[in-house]
Amino acid sequence: MEAKPEEKAEFEEAEIEYVSYGGEHHLPLIMNLVDQELSEPYSIFTYRYFVYLWPQLSFLAFHKGKCVGTVVCKMGEHRNTFRGYIAMLVVIKPYRGRGIATELVTRSIRMMMESGCEEVTLEAEVTNKGALALYGRLGFIRAKRLFHYYLNGVDAFRLKLLFPPPRQVL
C-alpha cells in the first residue's frame, strides 16, 4: 500500500502570525505540537520549566487561528559563558518548507542576542538534513559529533552559533 502523498497547506507567508509565549493558554498548543511530532515524551513539568522561566524565548506560529509551529528555548550560565539553548522546534508537516521554522528560530535567537547571550547551542540528528541546513544558514557550525547519542543508535551533532563580540560604543 502506498503512503498518502503529503498534503501541503496553501497559504501566503504573510498570513502566518508569530506570537511570543503569552501564558497558560498557549501551553496546551505547544504540548500538542511537540507530543505529536517528536518521539521523546516530555512531562508537563518540562514544558513549564522552559516557558515559565524564559517566556520571552518561546514563540508560536499561527495560521488563521491554528497553531502550526513552535520553538521552545532557554538560556543561562554554562561554564563561564552565557548561552542560549534551543530545546524544541516543531512545524506541522503541511506547513514545512516555507520558512516558518527559520522565522521562529530567528526570533528566538534575536531575543537571546539582545539578552546578552554569547552563543546558542542545540543537538540535532546527523540525518536531519532539514535542520542542519536551516541552522547552517543561520550561522551555526557543527561543533561536535556525539556517537550514538540517540537511543535508536543515531549520532547527533552539537550545533553552535557564536555571536560576534558586541561592538564598542564610542
Partner: protein, 729 residues
C-alpha cells in the same frame, strides 16, 4: 510528603484492598489513599506549582507520570517478576516433550541469543539484549537440560569476559552503556568449567552424529547411545546444526582467552581459533536451509528479519522483566539484530580481531600509529577497539613489554644506549611517557570521541614541549662543558624536543582530517579548513624532514662508518619519500584552498553570509583548540583572510597546484612499492589531483562567464581531499 497521615481510615468497607503480589506484613498495612489524592487534585489550579526549598522547576522535570508506559519503568507489562514469568510457563524445561521440537527450539534460543549478543555489542544494554533470556536469568534451573545449560553457561562466561575487556579499556561516555551490568547475574559459580561442560555435550552430539551416519550405512550402532531426537530423518541435520553452534561458542571463548594473555603471547593461538570460528559461522549459515525446511509449518513474515535461522520466534525471552534494572526511565524498545545481520557482525568482529592478532608488535611508534589509523578505517566496533587498546597498553608499557621512554627514545632517533639513561626519571620525561600512552588509548576510541580528546590533548603536548624546552635551557643555557654525559643529555633533549613538535603537528593534522570523516564541516567552511590544514602540514613536513635528517645522522654514526660513497651522498640530498608524501598533501591542500577562495570571491552563491555572525566567528570556533595551543604560531583569521582575499579565477589560472600533486604522487610511488596502504592512498591522491586539475581549468575558463556552472565537492576518491565536480545545471 506529609509525616502524619491526614486520612486514617482505609477504604470504604474497612478492608485493605487485596493485592496478589505485595502482601501486608506485621508492620505494614495497606490504606486507600484515593480520597487524599482527590483532595490534592482540587488543591491547585492549572499552572500552579508547589515551590519547595529544594524543589524547583528544574527538579520537577525529572518527574515521572505513573502508569505512562514511556516513563514508568515499574509498570507491569507482561509479568511482575521473573518468577511469575517462569510460573506461567514462559521458559519451560524441557522446552517441549517432543524431543524434535525441543531440539529445534533450543537452536532457536541459541540463534536469538547470538542476535541479542550482536545487538549488545552494537550499543544496547545487556539487560535488554542477552539477559532478556529467562533461561539465562535463572541458569541453575536449566541443569536438567544439558544442551541449554551448557550453552547458557558459556554465554554467561563470554559476556563476563567481554565486559571485563571493555571495562579495562576504559572507553567513555556514549559507550558506557555497554558495561552496565547492575543486578544482572553475570557471575556464576563454576563458570570457569564452562568449556569442559560444553565439551562433554559436544562429544555426546558428535557420537550421536556418528551413530546416525552409521545407521544409514547399515552398521551396528552402540546400544547405550540415545539419539538426539526422535525423528531419524532429521537426526543428521540437527546434530550438525548444533555442533557448529557449540563449536563456534567454544572457539570464540578461546579467542577471548588467548587475546587476554599478556604481551601478546596468545595472538597466534587466537588466530587459529578465529579461523575456526569463521568456519563454524559458515556452517551455521548453511544450516538455515535445513532448519527452515524441517517442519511443515512455515513462519510468517520476512525471513531476513527473523532472529533465528529457522524463522520461528524463540521461546523464553522477555526484555521487560529487567526494565527496573536498567534506568529510572524505562528503556525504549530496541530492535534486536536479525540473525543474518548478527552473523555478519560476528564475521566482521572476527576479521577485526584477526587484524589485531596479526600485528607484529612493531616497537617503532611511527609504524604503530600508522597501523592504528589504518585499523580504524574499517570502522571497528567497541569490542574490537577495546582489544586493540589492551594489547597496546598494558602495565604502563607498550605491549606490556617496552617502557615508554624506550619507545620515545627510538622514535626520536636516539642511539639504543640512551634508552636506559637516568634522565627518564625526570618529571617531564615521565609526563611525556604518559602522554604517549594516552595518545595510543585515544587513537583506539570511536572517531567522534577521539577527535574531541585529540583537540584537548594539543594543549598538553604544547605544555610538555614548553616544559622540556625550559628544562633544557636551564641545564644547557650556557654551552660549555664537554663531558660525555652532558652531551648525551643535550642530545636526548634536542631529539625529543624535535620529536614532540612533530608529534604535536601530527595530532593537529589528525584532529583536522577527522572533521571530514565526521562530516563536521559544511561546504562553506572547506576553504578555511584546507587553509589551516595547509598551515599545519607545512610545519609537520618541516619537523618530519628534520627528524629524518637527524635520524639519518644517528644511523650514519652507528653503522656505515667511513664508506661515504657517491650513492650515499646522492641519497642524502634526495628528499625522503615520507616527506614527499606530505608535500603531495600540501599541494592538494593549497590547490583546494585557492580554488575555494576564488569561487567564493567570484561567484556570489558561494558566499552566503548568515544573519547572526560572520566567517570570523566560524573560524574561531573551528580552530579554537589549535589557536589556544598556538598550533601553528602566527596563524590567525586575519592571516587567513590575507592569503585568500585576492584569489580570483585569473590568479588561479596562473598556477596549478594539482599538477604538482599529480607529479609528486607519480614520482614517489616507486618508493612505496612494499607498502600497499601508502600505494593505495597515492593512487587516490593522483585521482583527486587529476580530477581537480581538470575542474580548475574548466572553472578558470568558464567560471565567471557561465552562470549555469555548478560546482560541488565529493569525497569519492579520498577521505579528506575533496574531488571538485563541475556540472552544468
Amino acid at each position: 510528603m506529609a509525616d502524619k497521615p491526614v486520612y486514617e481510615e482505609a477504604s470504604i468497607d474497612g478492608q485493605p484492598p487485596k493485592l496478589a503480589s505485595i502482601p501486608a506484613s506485621d508492620t505494614t498495612v495497606w490504606a486507600d489513599a484515593s480520597p487524599l489524592l482527590q483532595a490534592a487534585c482540587a488543591g491547585l489550579r492549572d499552572g500552579e506549582l508547589i515551590h519547595g526549598d529544594n524543589f524547583n522547576l528544574f527538579a520537577a522535570m525529572s518527574a515521572l507520570e505513573i502508569m505512562d508506559p514511556k516513563m514508568d519503568s515499574g509498570i507491569v507489562c507482561t509479568y511482575y517478576s521473573i518468577d511469575e514469568a517462569i510460573e506461567n510457563g514462559a521458559a519451560p524445561i524441557p522446552i517441549s516433550l517432543d524431543s524434535t521440537i525441543d531440539v529445534r527450539c533450543t537452536i532457536d534460543i541459541m540463534d536469538h541469543l547470538l542476535a541479542c549478543e550482536a545487538a549488545w555489542h552494537k550499543g544496547h544494554s545487556l539487560a535488554q539484549t542477552v539477559f532478556s533470556c529467562i533461561y539465562l536469568l535463572r541458569l541453575d534451573r536449566t541443569a536438567p537440560h544439558a544442551l541449554l545449560h551448557s550453552y547458557c553457561r558459556i554465554i554467561r562466561a563470554t559476556c563476563k569476559a567481554v565486559v571485563s575487556v571493555v571495562s579495562d579499556a576504559r572507553t567513555h561516555e556514549e559507550e558506557d552503556l555497554f558495561t552496565m551490568t547492575y543486578g544482572l547475574p553475570l557471575n556464576g559459580d563454576g563458570d570457569d568449567k564452562c568449556l569442559s561442560i560444553l565439551n562433554a555435550v559436544e562429544e555426546t552430539i558428535s557420537r550421536q552424529l556418528r551413530a546416525c551416519k552409521a545407521t544409514s550405512s547399515k552398521r551396528r550402532l552402540p546400544e547405550d547411545l540415545e539419539p538426539l531426537q526422535s525423528n531419524s530423518n532429521l537426526e543428521e541435520g540437527f546434530c550438525k546444526a548444533l555442533l557448529c553452534r557449540l563449536r563456534f561458542r567454544k572457539h570464540f571463548f578461546h579467542v577471548l582467552s588467548c587475546m587476554k594473555r599478556p604481551q601478546g603471547r596468545g595472538l597466534e593461538s587466537a588466530r587459529k581459533h578465529i579461523a575456526s570460528c569463521l568456519t563454524e559461522l559458515e556452517s551455521i549459515l548453511e544450516s538455515a536451509d535445513f532448519l527452515r525446511s524441517c517442519f511443515d509449518e512455515s513462519c510468517e513474515g520476512d525471513i531476513d528479519d527473523k532472529t533465528t535461522a529457522s524463522g520461528f520466534e524463540p521461546i523464553g525471552f522477555d526484555a521487560m522483566l529487567n526494565s527496573r534494572l536498567s534506568a529510572p526511565t524505562p528503556p525504549r524498545a530496541i530492535k534486536i539484530l536479525s540473525w543474518k545481520k548478527a552473523v555478519e557482525y560476528f564475521v566482521k568482529l572476527l576479521h577485526d580481531l584477526d587484524v589485531i592478532c596479526s600485528y607484529s608488535l612493531d616497537p617503532h611508534l611511527e609504524s604503530l600509529l600508522r597501523f592504528v589509523v589504518q585499523f580504524q578505517k574499517s570502522q571497528p566496533d567497541l569490542v574490537a577497539r577495546s582489544h586493540l587498546q589492551l594489547l597496546l597498553v598494558q602495565d604502563g608499557k607498550l605491549y606490556g613489554r617496552d617502557p615508554f621512554f624506550a619507545v620515545i627514545n627510538k622514535a626520536a632517533a636516539l642511539p639504543e644506549a640512551t634508552k636506559n639513561h637516568d634522565i627518564q626519571k625526570n618529571e617531564s620525561f615521565l609526563q611525556l611517557g604518559m602522554l604517549v600512552m594516552n595518545l595510543l588509548k585515544i587513537l583506539c576510541t570511536n572517531a567522534a570521541w577521539q577527535r574531541r580528546k585529540l583537540g584537548k590533548f594539543l594543549q598538553d603536548w604544547r605544555v610538555i614541549y614548553v616544559q622540556l624546552e625550559l628544562a633544557f635551557r636551564n641545564e644547557y643555557g650556557e654551552v660549555s662543558s664537554s663531558s660525555n654525559d652532558e652531551n648525551t643529555c643535550m642530545k636526548i633533549f634536542q631529539h625529543i624536543l624535535l620529536w614532540v613538535e612533530e608529534q604535536t603537528y601530527w595530532i593537529a593534522f589528525r584532529f583536522l582530517i577527522l572533521g571530514f570523516e565526521l562530516e563536521l564541516y559544511s561546504t562553506g567552511e572547506y576553504c578555511m579548513v584546507y587553509w589551516y590544514l595547509y598551515a599545519v602540514l607545512i610545519k609537520l613536513t618541516e619537523k618530519t624532514h628534520l627528524m629524518m635528517a637527524v635520524s639519518h645522522d644517528t644511523a650514519k654514526r652507528k653503522g656505515k662508518k667511513k664508506k661515504d660513497s657517491s650513492k650515499d651522498l646522492a641519497r642524502e640530498s634526495r628528499i625522503p619519500p615520507a616527506v614527499l608524501f606530505l608535500q603531495c598533501y600540501i599541494c592538494l591542500a593549497e590547490g583546494l584552498t585557492m580554488m575555494l577562495a576564488a569561487l567564493r570571491n567570484e561567484i556570489p552563491v558561494f558566499h552566503s553570509p548568515s544573519p547572526f555572525n560572520t566567517e570570523h566567528e566560524k573560524f574561531v570556533q573551528h580552530f579554537e583548540l589549535l589557536q589556544r595551543a598556538c598550533i601553528p604560531d602566527h596563524v590567525s583569521y586575519p592571516s587567513y583572510k590575507e592569503s585568500t582575499t585576492h584569489a580570483r579565477f585569473s590568479t588561479l589560472a596562473m598556477y596549478n597546484y594539482f599538477k604538482d600533486a599529480q607529479r609528486i604522487a607519480k614520482e614517489v610511488k616507486s618508493s612505496f612499492s612494499n607498502d600497499p596502504e601508502r600505494l593505495a592512498e597515492l593512487r587516490k591522491l593522483e585521482q583527486v589531483a587529476e580530477h581537480n586539475s581538470v575542474a580548475q581549468n574548466v572553472i578558470c575558463r568558464l567560471g565567471a562567464l557561465d552562470p549555469s556552472l555548478k560546482v560541488s565537492f565529493e569525497f569519492s576518491h579520498h577521505p579528506f581531499f575533496a574531488t571538485v565536480v563541475v556540472k552544468r545545471s
